[in-house]
Structures are given as C-alpha cells and as structure tokens.
Symmetry: C2
Subunit: 288 residues, 2 copies
C-alpha cells in the first residue's frame, strides 16, 4: 500500500482527518515527522532542521487559516550534542517567533537516524478546509515555488550556506489568517503544486485549469539545467510550504490587498480535470 492509499485508509477510519490539520473544539492540530534520509540533506544545520521541521507543522496551521499558537517537537538522534541541540532549539524558537507562536518544548529520544517529530497548534473558529472550492473560483498560490528543490540541488553541490537559507521559510501564517475571510478551500504545497491542486480538487469535487507562467522562484533558474528540470523543481518537487487556495473571482482583489505577500493567480477552478496550459497535469509529487 503506498502512502496515498494509506492516507485514504486513515481518512476512512477518522472523519476528522483529511485536511492539513485536524479540528478539535475551535482548535487545529497537526503533526509531522522529518528525518535525515529524506528531509535533511547532508549540510543541513541543526538550526535549519529545527526551523524547518517546526515550520512544516506551522505551515499546516497556516493552511487552515488558523492563528498559530504553539509548537512542540521530539528530537531523536543517536547522541545528544549540546551545540547541536541548542542550535535545533534556537531554530525551533525562531521559526515560532516569526509567526507569533510559542515553542513550548518537547521530548528527546535515542534513535539511530536523526528524526524530528513536530506538532503545532492553532486557533480558528471557522478553519478553511480543502473541500469548499467551486467552479469559477480563482486558483492562487502565495510566494514562489521551487525554493526547496533548488536548495536540494545546492546541498548536492556543497553550497550549503545558500542551501540552508533557502531551506528556512517563513510559514505563511499571516497570509493564511488574511485568506480565511476569502478562501473557499486551502492547503499548503508541501507535496508539490501539482499534487496539492489535485488534492484540493479531489476534496472539493472539482477540477482546475492552470496557466503559465507559474511563479517559479529565481533560485530555481540558477540551478535548473533546462526547462524540464525547472518545471520538475517548481511544479512537482514540493516541500515549499506555500499556500494553495481557491478564492471567488469577486474577492480576489480584496484578498490580494489583505495578504502580506504576493498572491499569484495560477488558474481557475473548473468542473473536472486538472490541466496546465491545456495539457493534463499529472497527480504526482513529493512522497514522504
């Protein structure tokens, strides 16, 4: 059973699952696990690891349109080095401060592979789900796509300082809160733009017609060898933690005004099918 099928099984068992966060009594909660082999390329500092791991969960909070309140993490490693642990905590605290949340601690675990499990909490009386988009809504994404893919190439090349910079992202909590008044459906782009759009469309029982140019990060242009790699990193790679949302056409200008970062329209919600410039867009992306 692949991850998608396994997630579907969880969804069948747990009615509260299926969005980026579960919703409990006006609160949202989300949990994630990241580890060395797939999530922290060689050269990733512990500061970046703390920032990114906690940031990934804060991004899920953002995607529900919730105010982030607190986060915790389990730091699991073969050994506990004081400098590494301190750097990790500093990263976790700093990313929380960047979104006005509180990092309140967590636990330690001896583990062969460096692994981090994070949980974030947020407040939202009326969270934005993946399931509310309607044909005609504008499909939008915050910021730019492909930063993490570009970072991975830079790690591979040993350009670790720039790679670490790209790997630390500010979770889009302020944008999510601004969008909750307007967005009919929202999630983050952690699985890549293509899969995220498919997920939104699947939950909303609709389709989407995307049209380029997509807002691909400049960093992608500096690492991509050709147009195909550029598209791969920008559209499929994922782990970017931007917000993908549907906004009614009539609210688009107001939403853009309210959101404190670029909100790029990438297409329109349709009855069915997911296309980019008229061609079918594959439902593939990052598998964790």
């Amino acid at each position: 059973m692949d991850e998608q099928a396994a997630l579907a099984l969880i969804g069948d068992h747990l009615p509260a699952a299926g969005d980026d966060c579960a919703v409990v009594d006006g609160q949202v909660v989300t949990t994630d696990m990241l580890h060395d082999r797939t999530d922290f390329p060689e050269g990733t500092t512990r500061y970046t690891a703390g920032w990114r791991a906690v940031g990934a969960s804060l991004s899920d909070v953002a995607s529900m349109g919730a105010d982030a309140t607190a986060a915790v993490a389990v730091y699991a490693a073969p050994a506990f080095d004081a400098d590494e642990l301190t750097a990790f905590l500093d990263g976790a605290v700093d990313v929380c401060e960047s979104v006005a949340a509180e990092y309140v601690g967590g636990d330690l675990d001896g583990h062969e592979e460096f692994t981090v499990a994070t949980t974030a909490l947020g407040d939202a009386d009326d969270p934005v789900l993946r399931s509310g988009a309607s044909p005609g809504d504008a499909l939008c994404v915050t910021g730019t796509l492909g930063r993490s893919g570009a970072a991975l190439r830079l790690f591979e090349r040993g350009e670790t300082e720039r790679a670490n910079d790209l790997f630390r992202f500010e979770p889009r909590v302020a944008a999510g809160v601004a969008l909750r008044e307007y967005a009919t459906a929202m999630l983050d782009s952690s699985d890549g733009l293509a899969r995220s759009v498919h997920q939104l469309c699947g939950a909303s029982d609709c389709g989407a017609a995307l049209s380029g140019p997509l807002p691909i990060a400049d960093a992608v242009d500096t690492v991509a060898g050709d147009a195909e790699e550029r598209r791969e990193l920008g559209v499929f790679f994922g782990e970017d933690f931007e917000l993908v949302c549907a906004v009614p056409e009539t609210d688009l200008a107001a939403a853009r005004e309210a959101v404190p970062c670029p909100l790029h329209r990438i297409g329109t919600v349709t009855e069915d099918g997911v296309t980019l410039d008229g061609e079918p867009l594959a439902d593939r992306g990052y598998s964790h």
Copy 2:
C-alpha cells in the same frame, strides 16, 4: 551528553518545559516518540503499539491533572500494510475512548524502523506541576508497579498474548483529574518509580522517605526470579504510567475517596534525600 543532561539543557532554554506537559493558555500539550528497538519488543501487536504509544502521551496529560481532549500520531514504518495500520488506528482510537478523548489522526512517514510519535492535548486551568510538594506531604502512587517490566519478560519468553495485555494500560486521566484538587505535585512513573520520585523531589526542592512494601504488580511475582529482580522491575524499570504524587496529610483520605483506582501511600515528603526503608534510593531508571 546523556538524556538527563540534554533535558536540563532544554529546560534552560524553554521556561515552559520541565513538567510532563507544557502549559499553553489553559491547555496542556505533550509529545513522545516510541520505536521498535526500545519500546515495542518482538511480539507487540500493532493494536498494542497504537494503544500504548498514544496512551503514553495521555498519561502525561493525566499527570498534570488535566482532562484529556485529543491525540494525534505519526505512524512511521518501512511499508504501510493495511491490516497493521488499521490495527494501529484501532488501538489509538480505543485508548483515547478509554479516557473520553478523541483520536483525530496524524501523519505517515516512510522510515526504516517502526516509529511512532504521539501528541496529546488536555484542558486544565490550574495544572498540577512537579514542583509543589512540601515536607510532610504523603507520597502516593496509583495502581501497581512493574506491569511493563513483567510484560517485557513475557515477550522474551514468547508469551505474547499475556505480554500484550499487560502492555496496554488505561491512562490515569480520571485519577489525575480527581487528584488535581489535592495533589501538590504530580508526574507519571514513565521513568520508573525511583527516578520519578527523584524528579518530583528535584522540582519541589525536597526529599522523600519511602517505606515498603511497595505496590508491586502480581505479574512481577510470576516472572521475577528473585527479590532483586522483583525490585528492579517494580522500582526501576519504569514505563508503567502510574501517577506519582504528593498529597497533604489532611487531604489523603478525601483524595483516596475521589480517585477511581487504588492510591497507595508509599512514603512521606522530607527536607532532602531520597530513601527506601532508610537506605538511599538510586536515581536511575528508564532511559529512552
């Protein structure tokens, strides 16, 4: 740096850390990680694993005297088997139901070693910390000690059905809620009775004089080869998830009346030093 030193480092960085849960706006939150090598002996069913992993976090909620509200988990494994995942979810849901909390889902992660990260939430306006005990308070423990140690021996012998039964425990949420009116300090016995008493005394800046007989589980007697092993499993092994608390002498009868399980007095809080039957009790226990 060992785990105790690493935890102290976290405590220096994060004022909210140091108890079984962090406290945020009238809510408690706790997170844990368990994995194959150290936490799930061969023969542990996925149902038991789900129950026990989520139960460990619910036990932390209980130890703050909080009402458990919700839990999430990350299920990380080399492959996702539908039967195994379903059994895990059933265990997670059932342990939550046993304490009137809701299991609201979580995430999946591909991971070489079967690993579970759990987070539980609870409500408590005035949570019980580890730090409020005073000399003269009665020192108490709920239930019996050594079940998990006995289970481990049974797993080793291949008596997996009985071992699994012992490994599933009902988190002491109801007892914790009843005790919050009386307990001056509380934590759970996840690191073993000895270390838990040391932790309570360290946080409360006091000592404790314990006296036997301690409430060792019958299961320990059936597996322990001699008195020394009995004491090792009951006092030091840990992972029992009972509540260890200090209660003012004058409240002890009322606390016993209120708690829906046995509340065994094991000693008295003193000015300093931790002893059992007059002999120093070592500060050692389960390291995760």
